[in-house]
Symmetry: D3
């Protein structure tokens, strides 16, 4: 099938479109992917890869603590270290600490968008709530939702920690550096 535009573009439009193709157009597109990443899972990594295909740069913003995970297993520095190792090969990604309001951080970075992965229905509601509150506070930053690979649809850091705590193998759920970090942390706690 051919892509046919239905409306004949006016000469002005044509010029504009041509311009668009050969100029820096809009400034570099920057997006924020916020979370607690306690620790990063393959689901998070999948969203990171997808976001990188849509944006010029992605800042993975690690929340000091957020409203869902009142107490993290890993310190923020540990979570960042695991993320950095996991994202080693991923171009365009930077890791940052997020210790204030997400929208203030996004604005200070010049981000155009906040990226969120959608997993399931309960997620959906919570994510909508957050996105609408953020929009109220900062109408110019758009929240976009990406769908992780279906095998990661039901994956969460919480459940991975629970499985690790009970002695289960979590290699299918988190990258090797997170597997190691979980083993170390849990043996310290025991």
């Amino acid at each position: 099938m051919k892509c046919q535009a239905n409306r004949k573009p006016s000469p002005t439009e044509n010029r504009e479109l041509r311009t668009a193709n050969c100029e820096p157009l809009t400034a570099m597109r920057l997006a924020i992917y916020p979370g607690s990443f306690d620790p990063i899972t393959y689901g998070h990594l999948d969203v990171i890869h997808r976001a990188c295909r849509l944006f010029d740069e992605l800042i993975v913003a690690v929340a000091l603590n957020d409203q869902k995970h009142t107490s993290c297993l890993f310190t923020i520095d540990e979570r960042i270290a695991i993320l950095q190792e996991a994202c080693e090969g991923v171009a365009k990604v930077r890791i940052a600490k997020l210790n204030g309001l997400l929208v203030s951080f996004a604005r200070s970075c010049g981000a155009k968008a906040i990226v969120r992965g959608l997993r399931a229905v309960s997620d959906f509601e919570f994510e909508f709530q957050m996105a609408l509150m953020n929009r109220k506070m900062e109408p110019d930053i758009e929240t976009i939702f990406l769908m992780p690979k279906e095998e990661y649809t039901y994956l969460s850091s919480r459940i991975v920690k629970e499985i690790a705590r009970l002695g289960g193998n979590v290699e299918a759920f988190v990258p090797p550096c997170a597997v190691k970090a979980l083993a170390k942390k849990l043996s310290e706690k025991a």
Copy 2:
């Protein structure tokens, strides 16, 4: 708050980021917003505006018929005419006819993304289903979900047509050209 990257970028990375800023980077970002638009509502228009802030060009692709709306009130040409009038002032938008598989169309256009508005839970499931099927067929095209303004969260073409059919005023729900088109069409049918 200042935006602080936590990981000191290596010299190579720095170069790469600089390059990114002053070069044509990636080709122009093109997205597809598919639907039946029978007729366009303010909810659709809101999604169009949001998508235009994220992409360099947006093709609104009007489906000949789709699996949800087996029989449209308006012909495809009428739906396109209404859309064109409604999108008059919106730069970056082109309207196109979609008479085959969405992913084939997207590929032929060189689109990087399919844009969908998320309204409510039942939507969410259907949209996920479509998005996963599309990904199976065309893994390189990402479906992204945007959240319309909350006052449009529960708006749908179907309910607007029902209200118009029963003599209700739909000016709060669809743009003026759609109001007029609905009145004309329904008076013809009566």
Copy 3:
């Protein structure tokens, strides 16, 4: 549109209504319970009883056709007849034909509220959508949701008709007059 009561009020009722209208407090509270009732189920009846405890009068408004049930099994007159027999003993209830916009009807009746039963999640979304549209058109009429008895949570006219069509016993789901009407109608169709 005029609000037409289907059942001729008895003299006693008339007196009571007059009293209600010209006495203090707030005017008599009137609510509308709209639906297609094709046919009425025990779930509908349960909602009717609950609504009657909250309001001074309840108008059960039978839609000529609505956006969910494009083709009814029973004619509107048959549906009204079944409803009237089923509501025989229920004081405060009047049955009316609804052949226009619900909110116009409600306003013409002086109703303060639209009553809806909430069954399950998909319902919830649809009902919210309708309620918000109605509120946009008529902000002074409140939609209130009641919860049917849990054993009726999953009951619907559609599924009852399907069971009856396949020869199943529907006595547990609809009142005797509806059982009889279903048997008659289906034998006519066969």
Copy 4:
């Protein structure tokens, strides 16, 4: 348990109440709107206004603690004080402390209904659960669900507190007295 009104009724009110109680129709309709209100949001206020249009009196019952919010930011007396200031202009409303079972409280007040605002799907399930349990314990008290204005659909006290804690502006979400109380409380905690 005794039903304790928090606001001393004025002589006029007393007269009105007496009238209501000894006049025809049905007795004065009284409803309870329970919650933790930690603090009250514009979403709560919206539900209060809607309920007041349906009932003759509304008791806003502030739970000492409930099963969702194990630890409140504000003491019950602070929460009541904020509520009273926020409801200043709203006729028909009384604020009360709820320190036992909701249905026992409702019965002791002579309430006909419990009012709940429905926000989103997860709410819906929890609210249904509570409503069915309450009905099992007190079949004569009906739970009715109202739909807040759509812009408040995703608003919650929890998220407002989180935003305030991170230094965000919450004036769009809670009334001025709650904004002030949040600022004071959080500066004390810091």
Copy 5:
């Protein structure tokens, strides 16, 4: 971990358990897997395989028409033929025509259970509704829900037919015999 029973079984119990182990126990366990299978997908096949591990025999019951799919693309004989080819290698499976009430059919077969695959939320509600109605009519037959492989979670016959109709490749979604049947049927229709 060792499997430890916490309660010391009484001598009677021990005998009973021993008996259970070496006797024909209960009669052969037979389950019904009903549907329209228009046509069978890999999601259906996955559920069939899972059910076969739990039951001694599985009857796949093809509905003449059901309440969700008012008009099938394939005739019932075509659907059965496709199913038979797709289930060729699957022991324990029989294919049957279902032209009445599911529970009557199940009872006449001596089935202990009805098997259903759960895909997503909207499914969940519909399936619950059906299961509760069936239980009302036949309390002795249990409906059990199985979870298909996550990659089939969002797969449906309806969407497969839509993709095929638009010229898409459906080999990832349905077995080869269904691919062939779809191509033939759609070319006849064109």
Copy 6:
């Protein structure tokens, strides 16, 4: 209706089916029903009875602590004691302590299935998540979902404890031994 197999079974198949009928077929079918049972409710008991009709033996596995109920009201020994009394009359049931990974326990017992009761939508998501994680770790053990009686659909241990704590009567929700245990425990705590 008669149960008619559509495909004439081949002689080999016939032999196989006959064999199935008169031999120990598959080993005894054992299922696990895991939970925290803090305390057991009538909803749990209902699932236990249903599971017993499908399996030869059911192990009710009481989790030391799980990811949903971080702190139980009753000790694990108390919860087991209540369960044992509640299941007194139920043949086929054994109670066991679960202090590791569910799938490891299931494998060590030789269980073919994990049984879960499905209550409502939020449950559904959580249960799916758990079931998919368990399947990843142990593909040979199937999770099956049963639907409790509709009057138990919204029942949970958490809400029962809350009602008991506030002085409510919980006899409609939990068996007598749990009523007694709750009263004792709460009086100790007071």
